[in-house]
C-alpha cells in the first residue's frame, strides 16, 4: 500500500511537471480589436506564429469596455493560463492588482511598465522608429509640411508624434501639424473622424500624414490616398493596405514581443523585468517592401540608414516625450 501511494505521488509529480511544460498561453487584446490592421493585429500575428510552430493553442480575449479588464485577467489567471500576455498600456491598472494575487502566473504587458516580480514589461522606443518615419516624410514632402494624427491623447502617442517631428524637421520639413482624434478609448476606432482630421491637415498644406491611431488610422490613410497624398502606417506593416499610397509604416515588433513571451515561457526561460526594444534591438523600424518601393528614393534609403546608424551609435539622441512630457523640436 505504502509503495502504491508513493508510486501515485511520484506519478502525480511527474504529471505535474509534464503539465508545467505544456503551457496554456493566453493573449488579451486592447480596444481597437484583434484585426485593427495595426497594433493588436501585430500581437495576433505573433501568437499565431507561435501556435503554428509549437502546436500549442492559446486563448484570447478582446475587451469591449474598460470594466472587463480586471475580470478577464482574473478569469484567465484562475483558469491556470500561463503565461498571460496583454497588449496595451490600459491593462496596467488591472495587472498591478492581479499580479499580486497570482504570484505563480507569469504575466507580460506590452507598452507599459508594471513593476512586479512576476511581470515582464515590454516597452518600445517608438520615438526612434517615428524619427525614421519623420525623416522619410520630410524628404517625400513637396510642401515641406507634414501631418501627424494620433489616436487617444496620451503621452505614449505624443511620444510617437515627438519623434516624428524630430525626424521630419531634421529632413527639412518646416511645419508639422499635429492632431489627436479624441480623449476617450473610442478614439482608437473612429475612421470617419480620422479621415476628417486628415482632410483638414491636407487643406492646411500637409502632403504626408503619419497615423498613430489604431483602427482610426485606416480612415486617415484612406483620406490621404483619396486626396493623392501619402500616408504613413503604424505598428504593423500597413504598406499593403493601399499599395503605392503609403510611404512607409513605422513597425513596432509587437509580434516579436508576444512570440518571445510565449516561447520563453515554453522553454522555461521567461524572465520578468523591463524589456526596452529600440532600433538597436530591431524592436522598431520602418517598413520597406514592394508596395512602397516606387515611393522611396535612394536618397531616402541612404538618409534613413544614416539616421538609424547615428541613433544606434548615440550621435543622434531622439527625445523621449514620456521622460519629461515635453517635445523640444
Amino acid at each position: 500500500m505504502k509503495r502504491f501511494v508513493l508510486g501515485l505521488l511520484a506519478a502525480t509529480a511527474m504529471a505535474t511537471s509534464a503539465f508545467a511544460e505544456d503551457i496554456q498561453p493566453a493573449l488579451l487584446f486592447d480596444l481597437g480589436g484583434k484585426f485593427d490592421k495595426s497594433f493588436n493585429e501585430a500581437a495576433y500575428n505573433g501568437a499565431e506564429k507561435f501556435k503554428t510552430e509549437s502546436g500549442i493553442p492559446y486563448v484570447e480575449f478582446e475587451v469591449s469596455n474598460a470594466s472587463q479588464r480586471e475580470q478577464a485577467l482574473r478569469r484567465f489567471a484562475e483558469d491556470g493560463r500561463n503565461p498571460v500576455v496583454m497588449v496595451g498600456f490600459s491593462w496596467s491598472d488591472a495587472l498591478t492588482k492581479i499580479a499580486d494575487e497570482f504570484p505563480e502566473t507569469k504575466f507580460a504587458i506590452i507598452d507599459m511598465v508594471v513593476d512586479k516580480p512576476n511581470v515582464r514589461s515590454v516597452v518600445f522606443k517608438e520615438e526612434e522608429g517615428s524619427y525614421l518615419a519623420g525623416v522619410m516624410a520630410g524628404m517625400a514632402s513637396k510642401s515641406k509640411k507634414v501631418g501627424f494624427v494620433g489616436g487617444m491623447d496620451i503621452p505614449l502617442i505624443r511620444k510617437f508624434g515627438c519623434g516624428y517631428v524630430g525626424g521630419a524637421k531634421a529632413a527639412g520639413a518646416t511645419d508639422v501639424i499635429q492632431n489627436m482624434t479624441g480623449d476617450t478609448p473610442a478614439a482608437w476606432n473612429d475612421p470617419t473622424k480620422g479621415g476628417e482630421i486628415a482632410k483638414s491637415q491636407i487643406d492646411q498644406g500637409a502632403d504626408v500624414i503619419y497615423a498613430a491611431a489604431g483602427g482610426t488610422g485606416v480612415g486617415v490613410l484612406q483620406a490621404a490616398a483619396d486626396a493623392g497624398k501619402l500616408g504613413i502606417g503604424v505598428d504593423s506593416n500597413q504598406n499593403g493596405l493601399l499599395p503605392g499610397k503609403i510611404l512607409t509604416s513605422m513597425i513596432k515588433r509587437v509580434d516579436v514581443a508576444v512570440y518571445d513571451a510565449f516561447t520563453t515561457a515554453k522553454d522555461g526561460s521567461f524572465k520578468p523585468g523591463i524589456n526596452v526594444l529600440g532600433l538597436k534591438e530591431d524592436g522598431v523600424g520602418v517598413a520597406m517592401d514592394d508596395n512602397n518601393k516606387p515611393l522611396v528614393t535612394p536618397e531616402m534609403t541612404a538618409a534613413v540608414d544614416k539616421a538609424k546608424a547615428d541613433i544606434i551609435a548615440g550621435t543622434i539622441k531622439v527625445h523621449d516625450y514620456m521622460s519629461d512630457n515635453q517635445c523640444p523640436y
Binding site: 476628417e196 483638414s200 487643406d203 480612415g219
Partner: protein, 322 residues
C-alpha cells in the same frame, strides 16, 4: 483672405460631417411624426453601412451596395414596426434591441464572410460614391469669394450629399403639402381621428417606418462608402443618437433639422480644425476644443430653444376601441 480660406474649409468639412446626421435625423422625423419613437436609428445606420459596404465589395457596384444597404435597413425598420405597431410593444425596448442586433450581427457576419475581423474589404473607386464636380466649378475657381465658395463648398461632394440636402425641402413638401403628410402628422397627434376618417393607422405607420429605413440605410452607406472605404465595427460612433438629439432640438421640423445637424457638424468640424492652432494668440487646450460641441449642445438645449413638444401620440401604440 487666410481667415476666409480657413472658414470655407471648415464649412466644407461641416457639410461632410453633417450629412449622416441629417439623413438619420430626417429618418427619425418620419417615424416620430407618425407616432413611432425610434431609438434604433443608430443600429439601422450601422446595419445599412455594413450591408452597403458588403454589397459593394461583393458585386463591385456602388449602386447595388446602396440597394443592399437600404434593403437591410428597411428590413430592420420593419422589425421595429412589427414589434411596435402590430404587436404594440414598447417602442424604446424594440429600438434598443435593434441597436444591439446591429452591433453584434454586423461583426459576426463580417467575420464569417470576409475573415477580416468584422471589416469589409477596402472598397475601390468604382465601389464608392466619388465626389462630383458641378459644371463650371473649375472655371469659376479663380473668381474671388463666389468662385471659391462655389468650387470648394458647393461643388465636389458626393451624390449622396446632394441627395441629403435635397431631402430637406422634399420632406417639408411631403409633410405639409401632401395628403400622405397630413395623415402622417395626424396619426402622430391623434390616431383615433385618423382611424375615424377610415384610414388605416397601422398601414400609415408602417409606411412611415419604411421611409425611416430607407433614409437610415442611405445614411449608413454614406458612412461606409463615401466618408470611408469599407465597414469598420461600430463605425456609426453614436451618430444615430446625436441625430435623435438634433431631432428634438429641431422640434420635429425638417428645415430646423437641417440647421441643427449643420450646427452639430460645424462644432465637430471646428473642433477638428482648431485643434492645436492658437486663437488670438492663446493656445486652447485640445481637451477643451473636443468638449466644445458637447458643452454648446447642453447650453443650447437647456437655454435657447424653448420647449420641444413631441408628437402627442409618440410612443403610444394605437389600440382600436371596441
Amino acid at each position: 483672405m487666410d481667415f476666409l480660406n480657413a472658414l470655407v474649409l471648415i464649412l466644407d468639412s461641416t457639410i461632410r460631417l453633417s450629412v449622416p446626421l441629417l439623413l438619420a435625423c430626417l429618418a427619425g422625423l418620419y417615424s416620430e411624426r407618425a407616432g413611432v419613437f425610434d431609438i434604433g436609428l443608430e443600429g439601422k445606420m450601422l446595419a445599412g453601412a455594413f450591408a452597403g459596404a458588403a454589397g459593394a465589395a461583393v458585386t463591385g457596384s456602388a449602386w447595388l451596395g446602396l440597394l443592399c444597404g437600404i434593403l437591410v435597413s428597411v428590413g430592420m425598420a420593419l422589425v421595429h414596426g412589427f414589434a411596435s405597431i402590430t404587436h404594440r410593444g414598447n417602442q424604446i425596448v424594440s429600438g434598443v434591441a435593434i441597436n444591439f442586433i446591429a452591433a453584434g450581427s454586423t461583426i459576426i457576419l463580417g467575420q464569417a464572410w470576409f475573415q477580416q475581423g468584422g471589416r469589409t474589404p477596402a472598397l475601390g473607386a468604382a465601389q464608392r460614391f466619388e465626389a462630383i464636380e458641378l459644371p463650371g466649378a473649375a472655371a469659376l475657381r479663380d473668381v474671388p469669394l463666389i468662385g471659391q465658395i462655389y468650387s470648394e463648398l458647393i461643388s465636389g461632394h458626393s451624390l449622396l450629399t446632394y441627395f441629403a440636402f435635397l431631402m430637406v425641402p422634399f420632406t417639408w413638401w411631403v409633410l405639409y403639402r401632401t395628403r400622405f403628410g397630413l395623415r402622417l402628422r395626424a396619426v402622430g397627434e391623434n390616431p383615433a381621428a385618423v382611424d375615424t376618417a377610415g384610414v388605416s393607422v397601422a398601414w400609415l405607420r408602417y409606411r412611415a417606418v419604411i421611409c425611416t429605413g430607407i433614409l437610415t440605410g442611405i445614411a449608413g452607406c454614406y458612412l461606409s462608402m463615401v466618408q470611408n472605404a469599407g465597414f469598420v465595427k461600430d463605425m456609426t460612433a453614436g451618430k444615430g443618437f446625436i441625430a435623435l438629439a438634433a431631432l428634438i432640438f429641431a422640434k420635429w421640423k425638417p428645415v430646423n433639422a437641417m440647421f441643427a445637424c449643420l450646427l452639430f457638424g460645424f462644432l465637430d468640424a471646428a473642433s477638428i480644425r482648431l485643434q492645436g492652432t492658437p486663437i488670438m494668440g492663446v493656445r486652447v487646450p485640445v481637451q477643451l476644443m473636443q468638449a466644445l460641441p458637447y458643452i454648446l449642445t447642453v447650453i443650447l438645449l437647456a437655454g435657447f430653444i424653448g420647449k420641444a413638444i413631441p408628437p402627442r401620440a409618440g410612443g403610444v401604440p394605437y389600440v382600436k376601441e371596441r
